[in-house]
């Protein structure tokens, strides 16, 4: 019996009981579709996270103040540690390979222009390097300059959404707005950037950092800390080595703060660190999903085995007859194995279509992004085939081992 005949004969036998064959396949269809969808959802999640991290700005170092050496009850003011505003200038002037250094001090204000009032707008006090470091573009006008900071100029740069909300389509540059009764002149508007790293840059307004220290009711943290800052962002030159820059900064800050490198009062992390943390989270997520999908594939396989066992019992006489006219145990085994395999392959094929279609539909209907990974199609289809052979084996073995005399007498 050659391959073509075997496939033909197996297909015929499956076609003779269509409903049962389809129901049997359903398990595999769901399993394969689940594998593809799970992988595409987790791949989509990873892609979203990667995009967010990239949108933070490339080659970024985060220097965070740490106060771990402070004992309880000492209060933040008594601490020696932490980053100070002067550290920003020191890093920019003394470290090579630094493209920009920025620092942020945020406060919440109420903005008024004419009749329009916006409550709880976050004002970001920052330095000129902010545009480089956070990778934002100025659409019109200019960003905060060094001079603005030194002279504590009452100027503001608007995020694109805020600009539209306050001034509609008109150009806001040169207009004045009131932030908590402080009159500010709009000097620029940022190009839309959207959500990046959990921050919507379009909803913010930007002023010189010294203005925030001086005029706006800063956060509790800032009020206690004076000119101390929480985070300094360093953008490293594309050609420079991140590790080397990070090391130079460590040494510089340790000297400035008079601490040793073994117990610093700050910590430096790179984007890579953040990506690694995110990846380990998504990996757990992905592994869990893969297990769930894998289990459903196995359940599908058990369904195939169940039906094949029923089929062997039902067709005992047929098996006996085939044996009598010359089918070897091997022939019988191959016959039932190929039926199981065809069931799982057709199921796999439909499952792939369902999985790809389902992933796309899911991506469109929900907030979650889905990315169909080509390997997931190969993986799930191959798994379906392996499952067909694996779970078809026992029924096929049972059929092949039937005694032709007993099988022929079977009612």
């Amino acid at each position: 019996m050659n391959l073509g005949e075997m496939i033909k004969s197996a297909t015929k036998s499956l076609a003779s009981n269509k409903l049962r064959s389809v129901l049997t396949m359903l398990g595999v269809i769901i399993g394969v579709a689940a594998v593809i969808m799970m992988i595409s959802i987790s791949a989509g999640t990873e892609a979203t996270i990667a995009d967010r991290i990239n949108a933070l700005g490339s080659n970024l170092l985060f220097i965070n103040a740490s106060f771990s050496r402070a004992g309880p009850g000492e209060g933040p003011l008594n601490q020696k540690g932490g980053l100070v505003y002067d550290d920003v200038a020191a890093i920019r002037n003394q470290i090579s390979g630094v493209a920009g250094v920025s620092v942020e001090q945020q406060a919440s204000v109420t903005i008024k222009v004419g009749d329009t009032t916006l409550e709880d707008v976050t004002v970001v006090g920052t330095t000129p390097d902010y545009t480089t470091v956070r990778n934002v573009q100025v659409a019109s006008g200019r960003f905060v300059s060094e001079q603005d900071n030194e002279r504590v100029q009452k100027v503001v740069v608007l995020g694109s959404t805020v600009a539209t909300e306050l001034f509609g389509n008109a150009d806001p540059v040169g207009q004045t707005i009131y932030a908590n009764n402080t009159q500010l002149v709009v000097i620029g508007v940022l190009a839309p950037k959207g959500l990046a790293g959990g921050t919507n840059f379009d909803n913010l307004i930007y002023t010189p950092i010294n203005l925030v220290f001086k005029k706006f009711s800063p956060s509790m943290f800032a009020r206690f800390m004076g000119d101390r800052v929480r985070t300094i962002f360093v953008s490293v030159d594309k050609d420079a080595d991140m590790d080397s820059v990070s090391q130079q900064i460590s040494i510089l800050l340790a000297n400035r703060h008079n601490v040793t490198l073994d117990s610093p009062d700050f910590s430096i992390s790179t984007q890579e660190d953040i990506i690694q943390t995110q990846e380990s989270t998504t990996e757990t997520f992905r592994t869990l999903l893969a297990w769930v999908a894998g289990v459903s594939l196995i359940v599908g396989g058990i369904g195939i085995m169940n039906i094949m066992l029923v089929s062997v019992t039902e067709r005992t006489r047929e098996i006996g007859l085939r044996q009598a006219i010359g089918a070897t145990p091997g022939d019988i085994q191959v016959q039932f194995l190929s039926e199981a395999l065809i069931l799982s392959l057709i199921g796999g094929l439909i499952g792939v279509l369902a999985g790809v279609g389902g992933s796309q539909l899911f991506g469109q209907l929900s907030d979650m992004r889905t990315v169909i990974m080509p390997y997931s199609i190969g993986l799930s289809f191959t798994s379906a085939a392996i499952i067909g052979i694996f779970f078809g084996f026992i029924p096929a073995q049972k059929a092949a081992q039937l005694d032709p005399i007993v099988a022929l007498r079977h009612e």
């Binding site: 006219i325 010359g326 145990p329």
Partner: protein, 261 residues
């Protein structure tokens, strides 16, 4: 209708002290207890015996469906006593044709597909799909079913189904046709047709062994082997009697009234 191959007397079946024991230790049943016989090419032989005589077991052994516990079975010069299941399957395919009491056609295959089936399992002399079909069509024409080739078994009468089965038994050109109560499920008219068909095959030189419990059907063979308690109790040459529908009809009706039992 002179039999051609009777003259050359080639031995098709030879058994030497054939024994078949079922069960183990305490519950042993000796179904066949030392049967030695020879059947020659072109013979038309009936195996008879009451239920439990061991005739079915003997048939299973001769049909290579089972292996003897002791003794030898030589089929066409080949000692098959120790053959594996696979080797026996190949022997059955190559050398034997089967006709069963209950026809055993595949219900979801047409008459033609049923007849093609044995050729699918051929290992030697594989022929093309077209050639197989040609052989099968030919075989169905020979049993008078040319116009029923694409019918399914449930669209055929019992006699027609049995004729399909006979066509199936012949497509691999076996050296021996084994028929197990071939008329057991049939009415008188169909039985006549089947017996005529077997008689014709015999006339053309086929070696046929038929198992029956009806003496009057057995009378239309050349030789009757009587089995009792697992042993060959008699081996009688039967005088040549011309077969005619009336004779067979009579035989069947007598057989229906009790046969040998």
């Amino acid at each position: 209708m002179e039999n051609v191959s009777l003259t050359d007397k080639e031995t098709i079946i030879e058994t030497i002290d054939l024994v078949k024991i079922y069960g183990s230790s305490d519950a042993q049943v000796t179904a066949v207890n030392g049967i030695s016989l020879k059947i020659f090419s072109g013979e038309f032989v009936a195996i008879m015996g009451p239920s439990g005589s061991g005739k079915s077991t003997l048939l299973n052994l001769l049909a290579c469906l089972d292996r003897p516990s002791a003794g030898k079975y030589i089929l066409a010069g080949e000692d098959v006593s120790e053959y594996s299941r696979k080797e026996l399957a190949l022997i059955r395919n190559r050398e034997l044709g089967f006709v069963f009491q209950s026809y055993n056609l595949l219900p979801r295959a047409t008459a033609l597909e049923n007849v093609i089936l044995p050729m699918i399992y051929r290992r030697e002399n594989q022929v093309s799909m077209a050639k197989r079909k040609e052989i099968a069509v030919n075989a169905l024409e020979n049993v008078g079913l040319a116009n029923r080739m694409h019918h399914y078994p449930n669209q055929l009468s019992g006699g027609q189904q049995q004729r399909v089965a006979i066509a199936r038994a012949l497509v691999n050109d076996p050296i021996l046709v084994l028929a197990d109560e071939p008329t057991g499920n049939l009415d008188t008219k169909s039985s006549v047709e089947i017996l005529e068909l077997l008689h014709n095959l015999h006339g053309r030189g086929r070696t046929i062994v038929i198992v029956t419990h009806e003496l009057d059907i057995a009378h239309y063979t050349e030789r009757i082997l009587m089995i009792r308690d697992g042993k060959l109790s008699s081996d009688v040459k039967n005088g040549k009697r011309p077969i005619s529908p009336t004779n067979v009809q009579m035989a069947v009706s007598i057989g229906d009234q009790g046969g040998i039992q």
